[in-house]
């Protein structure tokens, strides 16, 4: 597991699953499984912005970017590539 995914997993398990990651897979939908509500989404967004020094555009707050560990990882990789061009 990548460092990014591991950090994300730890944040979600600690903050939204109360430490119980039973059945929480990399492709588990936060929305479908009721893991995150709108309050939680604000917490997740703040965490992403602080932890990864990013600014998320409001139009980027869509399920394709944020609705599972896999989606988050892919989205962050894309964002970081844009922010830090080689």
């Amino acid at each position: 597991m990548s460092d990014v995914k591991s950090t994300l997993r730890q944040f979600i398990v600690e903050n939204f699953l109360f430490g119980d990651d039973d059945g929480f897979e990399d492709d588990t939908s936060f929305l479908e499984q009721g893991i995150i509500d709108s309050t939680g989404m604000l917490e997740l967004i703040t965490f992403l912005e602080e932890e990864f020094s990013l600014q998320l555009d409001d139009e980027e707050l869509i399920p394709e970017n944020l609705d599972s560990l896999n989606n988050l990882e892919a989205f962050l990789a894309k964002k970081q590539a844009v922010q830090q061009p080689q």
Binding site: L31, S38, T39, D58, P63
Partner: protein
Amino acid sequence: MIHHFLENAAANTPGKTAVIYEAERATYAHINTMADNLAVSLQTNGIQKSDRVALIMENSIDYIISYYGILKAGAVAAPLNPGLKPDGLQYQVDDLEPAVIIATFKSERLLKAISLNEQTLKLLVIKNPKQKWEGMPFRVLDFGECISDQASTPEHAARNPDDLASIIYTSGSTGKPKGVMLSHKNIVSNTRSICKSLDLGPDDIQMVVLPFFYVMGKSLLNTHFAVGGTVVINNRFIYPADVVKQMAEENVTGFSGVPSTYAYLLHRSPLAKYRERLPSLRYCSQAGGHMAAQLKRDLRAALPEHTRIVIMYGATEAAARLSCLEPQRFEQKMGSIGRAIDDVELRVLDETGQFSRNGTQGELVACGPNIMMGYWKDSAATRRAIDKNGYYHTGDIGYQDDQGYFYITGRKDNILKVSGHKVNPKDIEEVLMQSQQLLETAVIGVPDDLSGHRLAALCVPIDKGLSEADLQKYCHQNLPKYQVPSEFAFFKALPKGDTGKVDTQKCVAAYEQLKTKN
């Protein structure tokens, strides 16, 4: 009867799209036929008039078929929150004693985790069941079977508008949830009044992000079915960009939310960027508690100019709504909840038990055909809520101005005593929001031996750089000394209930937890 809304629309405009949900579009004729099939299936399985049917589903076309199907069968629709934990669901199921539970596979684990009353439960209907239910003393059917073609039409048992139609659980500010009993007449009357207030018609298309198990969500469904309009269901509000995009794509004419819905939309959605792409958006309505003036101004600035803002006020016990502020008075009567809607009598009852106008404070009380029958199995609570003259006591404190507009200033049970002063937390929250530094805030009273209460402000800053000193300075400049919170605690978000309203009790718990941690 409530289901006549659906039946009339199906007779008049059978091919019209009634509901849009993800990739599905369902016509009135389709929903009516499916609801008839479900009603027959319920009746075939021995469900009788007045039997309770617990409906545990998120917003969907199946939910709507179930809701109207239950009513067609003469039974009582009791929508329960599918997000409940086992303890919460156990309490409501024990209290309700349903003859039928209708749910989806998503709630199967939850249902397995509670104990179902085998004496009263006759039937469990599950959409796409995944668990094994063999050997149960009640019948278990697949939802798909129940809505498939039936050989007959539902039997219309003798019914009248005063029959119990729905039980909706409301948490209130304290204690266990209470089941609010609403008759067909309660809901039909209020639905018609709301349609008139909002000038709804068949061309209206409503974006629904509020859950149908919440009375305000339910009224969005009934009002639009009453006029033969369309509802667009979007359960992905945690991704607000997705909702705003769909509003533009579907040419939505109306949007409704509680204050936190709008706080979230304003701060974390591209709403303002979509101003030019929402030409059909006729109005946005807000209910479900007080929305700070600053948030209202921000909303006004973000919405297209042609979009009107309608402030409404209501209660589950009122079948949804009691008052409405006409949009043309939005600026002039910024803090008002408007005037009573049709068929509702709204009054202020002062401390001496007299009706008051002229700005005297008192409790808001209401009567009319929309006021509930009472609380399920709790006649003592019913007597406390509805007085001998038939007025429902809302528990909200407010006044009426000389033009007849109502204003709410606080909750009867939420006034804090701080060093001998009566303090209304809402006044302080309003001033804090005017700082334009906060996304949301809640002021709570912390018991204090010396002063009775100390005030603590739970704050969600917009800018991470905001400090306690900044807020203290601002409060000292804008509030009398006794209203300045002695503590400011910063959070990433405030705890909310299932309908999106800020939950005061959870705020107190979150504050205590933070203090313990520090």
